[in-house]
């Protein structure tokens, strides 16, 4: 049978200065009707570029150098702009990573849904609206009849992502391209979206290309998987076979990321408390508590992980501890001394001993300062170190975070995401802190890079004896590095204790939900889980 989409020998290049650099390197790809193809790889692997090329589209500054993209007998590389326009959004649809950024905030969901079919002259507005309600129902959105009348900001992230999937299906496309549709979501929300996508695709027998960097996610959906790296194909095969028996070394590494993380059994010798948070409540608006009655202790050389989905108040806890959001009740005791609730009235010494690392290294580093200045400033500010001595210390810190010394003269934009995060860590370490607050520091990074950062933190703890307060929604990270776990829901702590105890059943019901939502490599995991949840 003729495949629905056949890409052969495709080479895509991007402009870099005056030269063209290959982004996708001679890739062949076929997609049959009703088949789901998983494209996986780290960022920069060329998977999004390849996905967009399936629509005959290249980003600005890129070009298709050679090869053919044949969709239903038509070569898209040679098609005219008019032909391509007719195709896109009608025969081939695209679901972007961030639904929040892809919806127009000024229009209702249903109007945006109907725009495609009406524009392409496929149906009237009324017919499209009826179809929207149908699809909303199939995708499990609440109040399918009326949810379309809401604006994008009035629904949650997971719901918006599903509304976007519905939009892609509005014109009964032959192919849908999913570009990391669940990456920005919590584990618990991710499940809903994955289940919805899987259900609808099976029902309508649409072919799909699913792009992700998470093997466990793709395992749930794909029939076939292609692994990409630096624009080259690493391995291709049926999903089940590849997961059971990966051929390429790189695939094995990707697969082993999650399973490698072993428990760190620490003797509980050192018991002294560095940070003690007692009955703390805080609010942005008077009367509405964002966090309530928080009690937690962090011991020297230990890692406490705070987990919960977004909106559970875990970042607020960090802001309260640092004094950015003054607590109106409760005490924060740092190394035996009570800290004043607000930042301005804290002593420089206590600021120095408590440092923070952020989720997005891109915005946590001043783009106009060289690394030398970024790391050097805490040295000058807290300890008055300058000149030659400062440079030596900066180089020492760069070595400590496993970066080359000559990075001191670079700007942040000349570094990759993982390297930037290492610079952030070096800057925090420059202050000689006792406690580091890490706010989702690996969630913006690829799996392998995140792994590297976690290992680094582990080593630093062993060498320097710092404590971590680790805020995350990723339970795999928690399992890897935490000594103690604090589970938060709606601004309150629902469960806390030593890692082994929290992870061992019986769980609090919310902990159970969180734990069971982490995708596993098993291709049947999603189906089994959903079955289990419906029977309960």
């Amino acid at each position: 049978m003729e495949p629905l989409l056949k890409i052969s020998g495709l080479k895509i290049e991007g402009r870099e200065g005056n030269r063209w650099q290959p982004i996708v390197n001679t890739i062949d790809l076929t997609l049959q009707r009703g088949e789901i193809l998983g494209l996986i790889g780290e960022s920069g692997a060329g998977k999004s570029t390849l996905g967009l090329a399936a629509m005959g589209y290249t980003r600005k500054g890129c070009r298709i150098a050679s090869g053919a993209i044949v969709f239903k007998g038509m070569d898209l590389t040679k098609a005219s702009g008019r032909q391509l326009r007719r195709l896109r959004g009608s025969k081939i649809a695209y679901v972007a990573q961030s639904a929040a950024a892809s919806f127009n905030p000024a229009h209702k969901l249903i109007d945006q849904f109907c725009e495609g079919p009406v524009q392409h002259g496929l149906s009237s507005y009324e017919a499209a609206a009826r179809k929207a309600v149908d699809l909303y129902r199939q995708l499990g959105l609440p109040d399918p009849e009326t949810i379309g009348n809401r604006y994008p900001h009035q629904v949650s992230g997971g719901q918006l992502q599903r509304a976007m999937v519905a939009m892609a299906m509005a014109t009964d496309p032959d192919i849908i391209i999913f570009d990391e549709p669940t990456t920005a979501l919590d584990v618990t929300t991710q499940i809903e979206v994955l289940a919805a996508i899987k259900g609808v695709i099976q029902q309508l027998n649409t072919a799909a290309i699913y792009i992700t960097h998470d093997l466990a996610v793709v395992a749930q959906l794909a029939d076939r998987i292609m692994v990409l790296r630096h624009g080259n194909l690493v391995e291709e095969g049926a999903a089940r076979e590849m997961l059971e028996n990966p051929q390429a070394e790189y695939t094995r590494r990707l697969l082993s990321v999650r399973s490698l993380r072993e428990d760190k059994a620490h003797a509980a010798a050192d018991r002294d408390v560095i940070l003690d948070v007692q009955n703390v409540s805080a609010s942005y608006v008077k009367g509405v508590n964002v966090v309530e009655d928080i009690n937690l202790k962090i011991r020297r050389r230990k890692t406490v992980a705070v987990v919960g989905e977004s909106g559970s108040g875990k970042t607020t806890v960090a802001r309260v501890i640092t004094g950015l959001l003054p607590a109106y009740r409760g005490k924060i005791i740092f190394d035996g001394q009570e800290l004043s609730p607000d930042l301005q009235s804290r002593k420089r010494e206590s600021l120095q001993r408590l440092q923070m690392i952020y989720q997005m290294p891109d915005v946590a580093l001043n783009p106009r300062q060289k690394i030398r200045k970024i790391i050097g400033r805490p040295l000058a500010f807290y300890f008055g170190i300058g000149g030659r001595k400062a440079l030596e210390r900066i180089q020492e810190l760069l070595r400590l975070v496993e970066l080359p010394e000559n990075y001191a003269d670079r700007y942040p934009s000349e570094l990759s995401g993982g390297e930037k995060q290492r610079v952030c860590i070096a800057r925090a370490l420059a202050a000689n802190p006792d406690l580091l607050i890490c706010d989702e520091i690996t969630s913006a990074l690829d799996q392998l890079v995140a792994e590297g950062i976690l290992k680094l933190l582990q080593n630093l703890q062993n060498d320097l004896g710092v404590s971590y307060l680790f805020i995350t929604h990723d339970l795999a990270t928690v399992k890897a590095i935490a000594d103690e776990i604090v589970v938060m829901l709606n601004g309150r702590i629902v469960e806390q204790g030593v890692k082994g105890e929290i992870l061992r059943p019986p769980h609090h019901e919310y902990t159970e939900l969180l734990l069971s939502s982490v995708p596993e490599m098993d291709p049947d995991w999603l189906d089994n889980l959903l079955e289990e949840r419906t029977t309960n």
Binding site: L324, L343, A364, L365, P367, R368, F381
Partner: protein, 273 residues
Amino acid sequence: MLTLLKKSPLSARVGLIIILLNLVTMILAPAIAPYGETEMVGEVWAPMSAEHLMGTDQLGRDLFTRIVYGARNTITIALLITLLSFAVGSLCGFLAATVGGWVDQVISRIVDVVMAFPTLIFALMVLSVAGTSIPVLIAVIAILDATRVYRLSRAVAMDIEVLDFVEVARLRGEGLWWIMRHEILPNAMPPLIAEFGLRFCFVFLFISALSFLGLGIQPPTADWGSMVRENSGAISFGILTPLWPAGAIALLTIGVNLVVDWFLHRSSQIRSQ
């Protein structure tokens, strides 16, 4: 600096040459100009000739001489005004964005009040009360312009202020000055530089408008804006005299903006790559 110039695009070099030309004219004005600044040397609106390269103006003064001296007066005053307005405007803007709260409220409301007056009327009012002199002129236009700069720099700084690296600086315990000078200013530069190029040119026009009403640079001092106004009647007789000072303004405007564009391009590259 030299290597920077070597890498500059053609447009920026053209711009630099134009600016350089103006600077040389400014400094060497007495040496270049064939006649005295206020000397009446010929017929009214005489055509171009060997004696009068650009002809003469409405009083029979040599136009080329007037343009050369005009460069001195106009550019110096315009530059001073723009620099002053940017210093005051961006400092207040950054302060309002960084401190927020009542500081922001007080400065913003004062600026609103100043902006509520039509600029020309406000300037006329102050100049007729305080008397027309160059320092007063500079101060008045600078303050009026500073309100615009304030709005822009406050908006830009507010966008930057919420970024994590500013929070990092606050958590470190940095003072206000450091945050404004080292964290916010370098990142606010691109829009401010673009605005600088534009403001600089607007100031010319504003001075000339005031001169026309008799409150700007006082005759017989040469200044490009008032030269356009004074000679504007000539156009209806098909005489090209007012086009010369207008051309001088246009040329400098283009030159400044070509260089500003290049700055902008360079600085946005560091940021977005």
